[in-house]
Assembly symmetry: C2
Homo-oligomer: 148 residues x 2
């Protein structure tokens, strides 16, 4: 597993350890769809390691972010959501304001213009984040309610 190896290398380099709990959380993360919440991850990790506490999930996710394997987003209100950063090309998000569904998209032109703007302002870019909020096609017909 590519990602596991990458995580392992970082842990070793920093004198950190590989535990079965950590393995359960990382595996849960890798097996999850994009934009999972900590609670969803906790439930999945507990299927393998029933005693996992939620603090551990938070701590592990922070580690994965530092390593560059996970990305976090806060769409609208609720809890922070996580997605893989490794092996997944950069993309932006379309968020439905009615049902909460999130769609990913890539628009090279936008990426390029962002680079230009940043360069012109003299910034060294670390990250960027674009969210478009609107009603998705399904929610435009019929009174579907908020689900996610």
């Amino acid at each position: 597993m590519e990602v596991q190896a990458r995580v392992g290398a970082h842990l070793q380099r920093r004198g950190l350890r590989w535990s079965s709990t950590r393995d359960a959380v990382v595996s849960a993360f890798l097996a999850s769809p994009h934009h999972v919440t900590v609670d969803e991850l906790l439930a999945r990790a507990r299927r393998r390691e029933p005693g996992v506490g939620h603090a551990t999930v938070y701590r592990t996710l922070r580690l994965l972010e530092e390593i560059g394997v996970a990305l976090s987003h806060r769409f609208g209100d609720g809890p922070t959501r996580y997605e893989p950063a490794a092996g997944v090309p950069h993309h932006d998000h379309l968020v439905c304001t009615a049902c909460g569904r999130v769609v990913e998209f890539v628009e090279p032109g936008i990426e390029r213009l962002q680079e230009e703007v940043s360069r012109a302002a003299g910034y060294v870019v670390h990250a960027h984040r674009l969210e478009i909020h609107g009603r998705c096609p399904e929610c435009r017909r019929g009174a579907r309610e908020v689900t996610a």
Copy 2:
């Protein structure tokens, strides 16, 4: 004052009232720089009406957002920040990851591409939000620390 009139009209239309506390908060908001926090607003409002509670600031800000006079942003971690929505053209934000400074910019090409992406996906856009995170020119030279 244009904005005050707009707020007044909405209040009347909805059977809401214009109190001196509300006036203090709205004035504080209008007199503040962009991207103020609730705490900053509270401090400023208290200069005129010392007893204001923070719940009132939150409630008033929510009202201003509903009316379309204020916009909220959550850059990175901290508290929600507010800026005027009326009379200020749409813009995006460059956030310095070192000092927290926020610069506004407009890039019509990005706006246009966002519209195209949304239309292609069948979404009806309500809002969009683009943040670019990086080191600002000042923070690139010298080890300036996080301030905001």
